[in-house]
């Protein structure tokens, strides 16, 4: 591992080592840049992961206190845990399930396609699918996405068999084991999938792509990476000419360090990225850094999610094998006749008994609830993931009174469900139940959203500096050498799991940074 001096102002500092930051670090190192990669969490490995839901949650999840507000059910069920993301080297790519779907062309033009949805702060992306396609291809190759690059699909598990039979019986056509960044054959020095059933807990076989054991070691091999784990970024600093100059962080001993930088890239996941910019306010940037538009923290999106579980007369054992073992894609298409804008997928999901008890009906108790849990072995499950509407009032803000362990304001996450989100969720609950009823469900259970894993939009990209925080390259409108490199740059959420698009944007951003550096524009 390289070690760069804190006064070396020729380095690129990337904050966050997940899908965006970890990928960007490798791409830049391969191009010869010196990279300091700051990660708040610890360095784990496949050897230290455990097939144990609660243990893994404590080992990997971001558990620093947050507050919530708004009418979403999360504020009631999990008031201090709005998001289920990770604080560990590799970020949330350690926890993600691997679904790797491209956004559709119309989803980059949400305002044009859906026209004016009352109460939604819609905007077209300042880029098109055509511009991204070559980079999507690079991302799919890098991640080894099944059903691309001649990589076979994964074998379906029991949970998928139930989904497949039900979905095809109600008339759905596009039902298969998905495009997954999980090896179906050994590839890239990683094994094929063991069907462990613990994708969310860190993949012990290494079959699932994670920056932890792909991008980061590859970056390290160049001799250009200085990974600093257990280092919490506190503030991005700038000079009087409006140029970012470095990052103040607390190291593993709590010591404050300033790392100078030529370029700073923010990839802390949408809640922390916005918080860091807001906490970096100064006399020149009183509203927070890169926030002349006032849009930092705004338009927070988390996908319209929910789950449908069902019990059957005979065993399923949904816990066996990949968590997202298959997909129904028919509802993802553009179809405004259903009474809502945007599309969604059904994807299988499974929880172990400990998390099923905690999440199927948060707060529930008594015989009605345990009758469901008694049927655990006979249970199948699916997750709904769909486009949610950006709203200016759905926002990450600084809590006015509560401070974290470094004395900085903690984030508050406000989210009100938009009527469009509710219409989509209710439709999806009904269609999901139809799927399971078609194969003889004894009981179907509509489960409310879990804490958000898809956190998006708080530093969105926009054509005009008035409407958003960064341009089509993730470069902030206000500070030329400050970049947004995670899902917070999404202008709208699309209906697809976001990781593939985050990785795609990171590869593209690295090319841009390299080009601009060569032209001496950076």
């Amino acid at each position: 591992m390289a070690r760069f001096d804190s006064n070396d102002d020729s380095v690129v500092v990337i904050i966050g080592s997940g899908a965006g930051g970890g990928t960007l670090a490798n791409e830049l190192c391969q191009k010869g840049f010196k990279v300091v990669l700051l990660e708040a969490g610890k360095h784990q490995s496949s050897a230290t992961f455990r097939n144990d839901e609660w243990f893994a949650f404590n080992q990997l999840a971001w558990l620093d206190k947050r507050t919530t507000s708004g009418n979403w059910q999360i504020a009631k069920d999990f008031p201090n845990l709005p998001a289920w993301t990770c604080k560990t080297v590799g970020g949330t790519t350690v926890h993600w399930a691997g679904a790797s779907l491209r956004f559709q062309e119309h989803e980059f033009k949400a305002k044009t396609t859906y026209s004016d949805v009352t109460g939604a702060n819609l905007l077209d992306w300042p880029l098109t699918l055509a511009e991204l396609e070559p980079y999507y291809a690079k991302a799919e190759f890098k991640m080894g996405v099944t059903r691309t690059n001649d990589i076979p699909g994964l074998p379906g598990n029991n949970n998928f068999k139930v989904l497949y039979n039900g979905a095809t019986r109600v008339g759905y056509k596009t039902v298969h084991t998905g495009r997954m960044a999980i090896n179906s054959r050994p590839r890239d020095d990683r094994s094929s999938c063991w069907q462990l059933g613990f994708c969310f807990q860190g993949c012990k076989s290494g079959a699932k792509w994670s920056t932890l054991y792909t991008e980061i070691p590859k970056a390290d091999a160049t001799g250009k990476l200085d990974l600093r784990a257990e280092c919490q970024a506190l503030q991005i600093q700038h000079d009087s000419r409006g140029k970012a100059t470095g990052v103040l962080y607390a190291d593993q001993n709590g010591k404050h360090v300033v790392q100078k930088a030529a370029i700073v890239c923010v990839a802390c996941n949408s809640i922390e990225s916005a918080r860091l910019l807001l906490n970096s306010s100064s006399t020149s940037f009183p509203q927070g850094l890169a926030n002349s538009s006032g849009q930092v923290g705004k338009n927070y999106m988390r996908h319209t999610t929910g789950s449908v579980y069902a019990t059957f007369k005979k065993p399923v054992y949904m816990n066996r094998g990949t968590v997202m073992a298959g997909i129904v894609a028919d509802e993802a298409e553009l179809n405004l006749k259903r009474g809502f804008a945007g599309g969604f997928e059904f994807e299988t999901i499974s929880l172990g008994l400990p998390f099923a008890a905690a999440f199927l009906k948060p707060g529930a108790w008594g015989r009605d609830y345990t009758r469901v849990l008694d049927q655990y072995a006979n249970m199948a499950g699916m997750w709904i993931v769909g486009e949610d509407m950006p709203q200016e009032t759905n926002a990450v803000t600084l809590n006015p009174t509560e401070k974290d362990q470094w004395g900085l304001p903690i984030p508050n996450v406000h989210y009100d469900d938009h009527p469009n989100d509710l219409a989509m969720r209710n439709y999806a609950y009904k269609r999901g139940a139809d799927i399971y009823n078609a194969v003889g469900a004894v009981q179907t259970i509509a489960v409310p959203p879990y804490p958000s894993t898809h956190n998006l939009g708080t530093c969105r990209m926009s054509e005009s500096p008035r409407d958003g925080v960064c341009n089509k390259w993730g470069q902030t409108h206000d500070l030329k050498n400050l970049f947004i490199s995670d899902g917070s740059q999404f202008t709208t959420s699309g209906g697809e799991n976001p990781t593939l698009t985050i990785v795609t944007l990171a590869i593209r951003q690295a090319d841009y940074i390299s080009r601009e550096r060569t032209k001496k524009n950076l």
């Binding site: 455990r50 097939n51 144990d52 839901e53 609660w54 243990f55 404590n58 080992q59 558990l63 076979p152 699909g153 074998p155 379906g156 598990n157 029991n158 998928f160 068999k161 139930v162 497949y164 039979n165 039902v175 298969h176 084991t177 179906s184 054959r185 094929s192 999938c193 063991w194 069907q195 462990l196 059933g197 613990f198 012990k204 076989s205 005979k314 065993p315 399923v316 054992y317 816990n319 066996r320 094998g321 298959g326 172990g352 008994l353 400990p354 099923a356 008890a357 905690a358 707060g363 108790w365 008594g366 015989r367 609830y369 345990t370 849990l373 008694d374 655990y376 072995a377 006979n378 194969v439």
Partner: protein
């Protein structure tokens, strides 16, 4: 206490959550670290306590709560998550976790003691002697109290993270020690047709 519990004092219930009650498979046991071996040793003593539940002596293992408080909390734990397939010994584990917390946090001890006293005064007789319906009715009236919330939140983890409970409710848990479910039934469901290979290719 395992190190992650010390790091996350907001989740104190993790201190007993691994391998508890447990017949840890020998191979898994060998793979785990020294720290975990120490906690497995503690779990062995836990098994001894649970075993004596059959002879109604389990309350002798309580360190902070008294026998009556323990017996009452055992009834409460069963009414919160009633499973006919589970034995009292499974719920005793929950009470033992509550007792451990009462021993380390005086506020929790007071909360539990006052809560039990409140339940005892809510019906026509001591809570533990009431019928199931009467117990449930009293708990429903108390479900928003800090006492109920405490027992519920501790039990949610303590009960459903117990390997003995997993077995009885049909959850097989970790699979790494057997090489995953790939050769252990991940696709053995036979009451529906297999999807075509185009939708679900055969394993490599």
């Amino acid at each position: 206490m395992e190190p992650w519990a010390a790091r996350n004092p907001q989740y104190p219930w993790f201190q007993n959550s691994t391998g508890r009650g447990a017949k840890m498979k020998r191979r898994e046991f060998l793979q785990k670290s020294v720290i975990v071996v120490a906690s497995a040793a503690a779990a062995v003593s836990g098994v001894a306590v649970v075993a004596s539940a059959d002879t109604n002596q389990w309350t002798a293992g309580l360190k902070t709560l008294n026998a009556h408080e323990g017996e009452t909390l055992l009834k409460v734990a069963r009414q919160i998550f009633p499973h006919d397939r589970l034995d009292d010994s499974d719920y005793v584990v929950v009470v033992m976790d509550l007792d451990t917390q009462a021993g380390t946090t005086p506020d929790t001890a007071k909360l539990l003691r006052d809560g039990v006293a409140n339940l005892d005064s809510a019906g026509s007789a001591k809570f533990a002697t009431l019928s199931d319906d009467q117990q449930v009715a009293i708990l429903q009236k108390n479900e928003s109290t800090p006492f109920f919330q405490k027992v519920h939140s501790v039990e949610l983890v303590s009960l459903y993270n117990n390997h003995a409970v997993w077995k009885k409710l049909g959850y097989q848990g970790p699979s790494y020690q057997i090489g995953g479910y790939l050769h252990h039934g991940f696709n053995d469901l036979n009451w529906l047709p297999d999807p075509p290979a185009s939708a679900s290719p055969k394993p490599a």
